[in-house]
């Protein structure tokens, strides 16, 4: 593991670079796109496309096993947040059936220094997209949406993740 961590350290960048790049992307999209809904949708799609690639990186770095239960999945997502955004969201509000949980955070590098116009923009829509894409590649279909958003005046940002189904036909041989 020591080799892995040293490899990670070597690639660390200042989070402000990410914040500013992401901010530039969103504001450019707002300028070029008619409706805010479209921007939200596009951001989600970009996130999805990142997620389907990022999952391989996550698996290669952490050598995780397959999750057979939502709590493990929540742990892994939390780990991914730490790995890629250097933040530690709390996992809370489990539904009684154990298939739905919330990720809560009060500080996110993406939305640092941001004050959004009041037009229904979901500034961090990239994150739920990435979670959906990544989990789809490991044959889990989930739904992901914001319940609370600090940028809209809530105390914390809360992202809800809901298990939909396991994509049985996509499960690779030897895993079913």
């Amino acid at each position: 593991m020591s080799r892995l961590t040293s490899r990670l350290d070597a690639k660390k960048v200042n989070s402000e670079l990410l914040t500013l790049t992401y901010g530039a992307l969103v504001s450019q999209m707002l300028k070029e796109t008619e409706s805010t809904d479209d921007v939200n949708k596009h951001l989600e799609r970009i996130g999805y496309n990142m997620g389907v690639r990022l999952i391989e990186d996550f698996l290669a770095r952490t050598s995780s096993n397959r999750c057979l239960e939502m709590r493990e999945t929540a742990d892994k997502i939390q780990q991914a947040f730490r790995l890629y955004l250097n933040m530690q969201p709390t996992v809370t509000s489990w539904s009684s059936s154990g298939d739905e949980f919330s990720l809560v955070w009060d500080q996110c590098p993406l939305s640092e220094w941001v004050e959004i116009p009041n037009n229904g923009l979901k500034y961090c829509a990239l994150i739920p997209g990435a979670i959906r894409g990544a989990l789809q590649m490991v044959q889990l279909e989930v739904q992901c949406w914001f319940v609370q958003d600090q940028l809209k005046g809530d105390a914390v940002t809360e992202l809800r993740v809901k298990y939909i189904k396991r994509l049985e036909d996509a499960v690779p041989a030897g895993e079913d």
Binding site: V52, R53, I55, E56, D57, L59, A60, R61, S63, S64, N65, R66, M137, V138, A170, V171, P172, A173, G174, E175
Partner: protein, 217 residues
């Protein structure tokens, strides 16, 4: 440590990357008198030795050239049929070059898609549930090691039968794949990998493993 090849098979069973690493070249040229004492046959678009192994020309080797002119299919460069040349006495002495046939890219694609159901079959044949499928396949001249990721991509290396630590080696290739292929925005998923950076870093890894083994990966 000898590594013969690296293959990557996509989730849907298509070969998306293949690399041959120093496969020994076996070629023998020899002058023959009439009648030819080696039995040749036309098989799979190749003229192949079927009987009469001698002087380094083995059964299974293919005819590469006749008097220096390259053979494609069963005709020489000037369009003459190989079997006609061999049959007529006035063409002798005849210099023939034989060598081990190399798998073409098409054949490799076929082999990769054949490995896919074999892998699935192995996991279904398992007497115990949750079997991983083929991880190591050993023969007298090589060892094939396969690693399937959670997303279903298979990484395969063909090595010397004595090679140790293939699992670590395969993990390293996975890391290279996730870094240099997937993070390339112009690489689309499930498509053949044509990324120069991936090639070069894989070659560096192969050299390292050949020189000093997998112990310090």
């Amino acid at each position: 440590m000898v590594i013969y090849g690296v293959y990557i098979v996509s989730k849907s069973g298509g070969l998306i990357y293949n690399y041959d690493h120093n496969i020994p070249k076996v070629e023998t040229e020899k002058t023959f008198g009439f009648p030819l004492d080696i039995k040749l046959q036309y098989e799979n678009k190749k003229v192949v030795v079927v009987f009469g192994q001698r002087d380094g020309i083995n059964v299974g080797h293919m005819l590469l050239s006749v008097n220096g002119s390259t053979v494609t299919g069963c005709t020489t460069e000037d369009g003459r049929d190989v079997f006609d040349i061999i049959a007529s006495k006035e063409n002798y002495p005849l210099s023939l070059k034989f060598g081990r046939p190399r798998a073409t890219t098409n054949e490799k694609i076929v082999l990769a898609s054949m490995f896919y159901p074999l892998f699935a079959l192995a996991s279904q044949l398992s007497p115990v549930p949750k079997c991983s499928g083929i991880e190591i396949l050993t023969a007298d001249t090589f060892k094939l090691a396969c690693f399937q990721t959670l997303t279903g991509v298979k990484f395969i290396v063909v090595t010397d039968p004595n090679m140790q630590g293939t699992d670590v080696f395969l993990k390293r290739i996975y890391e290279l794949y996730s870094d240099y292929a997937l993070k390339n925005p112009f690489y689309s998923l499930e498509m053949p990998i044509r990324c120069e950076l991936f090639d070069t870093s894989l070659h560096t890894l192969l050299e390292l493993v050949e020189k000093s083994g997998t112990a310090n990966l």
